[in-house]
Symmetry: C2
């Protein structure tokens, strides 16, 4: 009884985790009840007889959770049945010419050779990813047809019936899976990427508060809940196999929603790989949050401003990317946040050079600088991720979100203030005004961007995010956010912090 209750509880949990699972179960039931009606419906049964079972069998093995997986298996099965059926009949014919003694030996050799060859081909990585099931069915059908002891006209009839029932079963699966509450693997991969970005962004957004505010250990439940929420990023660490499977399925899917047939799924994997790298760093950072050894707050506070800005600006940039993915629009202000986070790095570097940490105890210093270095890594990775999402956006032809409406003169912007660091008037999500305005800044930016070669151009970037509409204006040159970053080698703290010193030793 306890066992039963536990199973029901588990069932409820599984269903709640993804309600589409319940729908999928109903869809399979429906498809199966439908094809098994071939047995009762006399005209169909008269035509196909026992072969109707192939339709049932096809539905059971082909119907998968997502449209892509179902289509992939269905197409694999249909094509493999067709090809193997043809070859099987050929082999049977060839063997039957050789007389009754040699025939079984010849057939056994045929079966052995094709089974061994096909099985070996299944190990090829590219074949395994997309055609594994097809080859399985190829082996199966070839063996069944070539060795079946029937006369040839019987075989043709058999092959014909089997193929038609397989196709009927496959088509029912595909139709039901596409038209009854479809689950698109592509959409899933897309959402997974957006939600992974969101998760990492959430951690970085909260990091400042967690690191710089003394925990009052008030409500243990509350703390526990916040911690759990913070550690959602752990799901990103091991998402690789899931993402690869989804991308493989997605490649089979036809146009749906905003996804074309040849949507750049491979680019999703590239972004996902960078996100995973970022998650590794976040995992390390998290271990410093939970550590028994805590640095006195007054020492931490010395670096609070730039560190907070680095993590929060990276977080905003990722959040922006996540939203841009969800809405399938091109990135607008994410680059500005990347620049902001990089200018915070710069500020941090200046602060460190000023000798602010000279009197810190070595052990505390190590803990603190490691945190710094991890955050710098994360800022670097955020830039790479941003570039990768840009590539994705243009490869996938995301809509352009920008509508240039406002007009601003250079003199206006300069009058606002000469700032060495981008200024933000607000931290809230709407009405963000970011200004990069004079030579000083453009030099800084150039340094951050590596080998960008435009000297002293003037940037004006104004973003007023209101009612979801963005107005941007660039003057006297372009914003450098789309230059490719050919100097980002391995993400490395000192690498970036060192942008102004010339101690680089070339790595070639």
């Amino acid at each position: 009884m306890e066992k039963v209750r536990e199973i029901v509880r588990e069932g409820r949990r599984v269903g709640k985790e993804d309600p589409r699972r319940v729908v999928h179960a109903f869809k399979v039931g429906l498809a199966l009840a439908f094809v098994s009606s071939f047995y009762y419906y006399q005209p169909l049964y008269d035509n196909f007889g026992v072969n109707a079972m192939w339709a049932v069998m096809t539905v059971v093995v082909v119907f998968e959770f997502s449209v892509g997986a179902t289509l992939g298996k269905g197409i694999n099965r249909a094509v493999a049945t067709l090809v193997a059926g043809g070859l099987g009949i050929g082999a049977h014919h060839l063997a039957s010419l050789s007389g009754p003694t040699i025939e079984p030996i010849l057939l056994a050799i045929f079966v052995f050779v094709q089974a061994a060859l096909s099985t070996f081909v299944r190990f090829f990585p590219r074949v395994k990813a997309r055609y594994d099931y097809g080859i399985l069915i190829f082996i199966l059908t070839f063996s069944l047809i070539s060795v079946s002891g029937f006369r040839e006209d019987e075989i043709l009839d058999l092959a014909h019936k089997r193929l038609s029932t397989v196709i009927m079963g496959g088509v029912s699966c595909v139709l039901i899976s596409i038209f009854v509450c479809p689950v698109w693997a592509g959409q899933d991969l897309h959402s997974l990427l957006a939600s992974n970005l969101d998760t990492l962004s959430h951690f970085l957004q909260e990091f400042g508060d967690e690191y710089f505010e003394a925990t009052d250990d008030g409500d243990i439940n509350e703390v526990e809940k916040r911690r759990k929420n913070l550690e959602r990023y752990k799901s990103v660490l091991n998402s690789k196999s899931n993402e690869e499977a989804l991308a493989n399925f997605a490649k089979w899917e036809p146009r749906h929603g905003q996804f074309r047939f040849r949507h750049p799924w491979q680019q999703y994997l590239a972004v996902a790989a960078l996100l995973r790298q970022c998650a590794y760093r976040i995992d390390a950072l998290n271990s410093y949050l939970n550590s028994d050894f805590q640095i006195p707050m007054d020492i931490k506070k010395k670096l609070e401003e730039p560190l907070r800005r680095m993590s929060s600006e990276s977080a905003k940039s990722m959040k922006e990317m996540s939203i841009s993915l969800k809405k399938m629009t091109k990135l607008s202000s994410s680059d500005i946040h990347v620049l902001n986070s990089q200018s915070a790095c710069k500020a941090l570097s200046t602060l460190l050079k000023s000798g602010i940490l000279n009197n810190v105890e070595p052990l505390q210093l190590i803990s603190l600088t490691t945190t710094v270095s991890l955050l710098v890594d994360i800022v670097n990775l955020t830039e790479k991720i941003s570039e990768s999402v840009h590539e994705l956006a243009s490869a996938a032809r995301f809509k352009n979100k920008m509508k240039p409406t406002a007009s601003l003169k250079k003199s206006d912007s300069v009058s606002v203030g000469r700032a060495a660091v981008p200024i933000k008037s607000h931290d809230s999500d709407d009405h963000v005004v970011t200004i990069l305005c004079d030579d000083d800044v453009s030099n800084t930016v150039d340094q951050w961007r590596g080998k960008s070669s435009v000297d002293s151009c003037h940037h004006v970037a104004i973003k007023i995010d209101d009612d979801d509409s963005v107005h941007e204006k660039h003057e006297d040159g372009e914003i450098h956010v789309h230059t490719s970053c050919d100097s980002c080698g391995p993400t490395n703290a000192s690498n970036v912090l060192d942008s102004s010193s010339n101690k680089r030793i070339s790595s070639n």
Copy 2:
């Protein structure tokens, strides 16, 4: 033509990567040729007729690469066929009682309900891991039998024949897969773990040279080759899904070689998870090796001795674990290496406290301290891995390797020298003498071990590794290497380095 040549090349590569794949292909061909002989062999064909095809089908879908996977699928298929056959006959009987009009409706409902329920159950994580295939076959068989339009005596005959052919096919697969060059998933998992340990150990072993020796960039091929060899650790980063699959298969396998039926496969996954964590750190460390920004050698050299010792001792400890796994003997000297690496941490901490880095430029400091912190993390993780391997060794009842032969008096050891740090006479692999000998050391060790409560006991540990035999002697107390480390929270640099200061703030 070019295409064909490419395929042949790919085939050769795949075969070379794991020659057992070629053998597997032959085995499948053999099994299939064998069961298809049921068709030609008249007495068998007279008995089973067309049902012989179920044997062929079973072989094609059940025969997997490893014994565990084959057994798992075979048992799943046989049991599911049996149970579903029984239930299907029951459903058919029930429906036939209700008269010809209601019968098809009732059958459709049965099929719908069982298919929907079973499909939903396939989403349960534990079911998915081990019984996914069984449930698939359950749905298939139940549907086929309950709706087949046969009379009941025909059905019984059919079910009997189908079950016997399925079992014949399954048994052929299992026998061939066990007795012809068997591939044991358990053995694979075991070797994978040992080789992962080896890979990480190799990186750590080479790290000192890579980090502290100026690369002369002489032969590019040579450098490239060394780099590639060093970066083998990357395979560990994403090994999770592979390890879990192997562990799942391994659970189906009977006793083989030194593996019992209930070998603690779950513990392998625990060790593997720690290794992955360690690999994340190594990945970060590697990015510092490849970085454009290099710290001047004279600054690095200041910390060379302890850093080299930390990485090389961790490497030795892992190497030892890898060998112990391969030979399935209990760990002997790995703990000593762990202690050595920890004492190197301690030396490092003393060195840092002495203010050796006071005049280092902040940017260089950050890069250097991050390397330090990552190495300390790795030392900590090595200890955890060592403990986890200890647990594995005792759960899996590995043989005891120790043969106490030498005898040493306490006075002897003290006369060797009062050392605050374990001494090693050699760096080569044989004739290693490690001595922990007086109060001072035992205190140090106690500190490293966290809350170990034995006051001032005297350790003498002598290991002379010659001809693969190890002689150890403990006197006046025990070596503390097996105490559980209840103070290892999150692996955190300062945590360990801080063992002597009392600035810890409890994290509860």
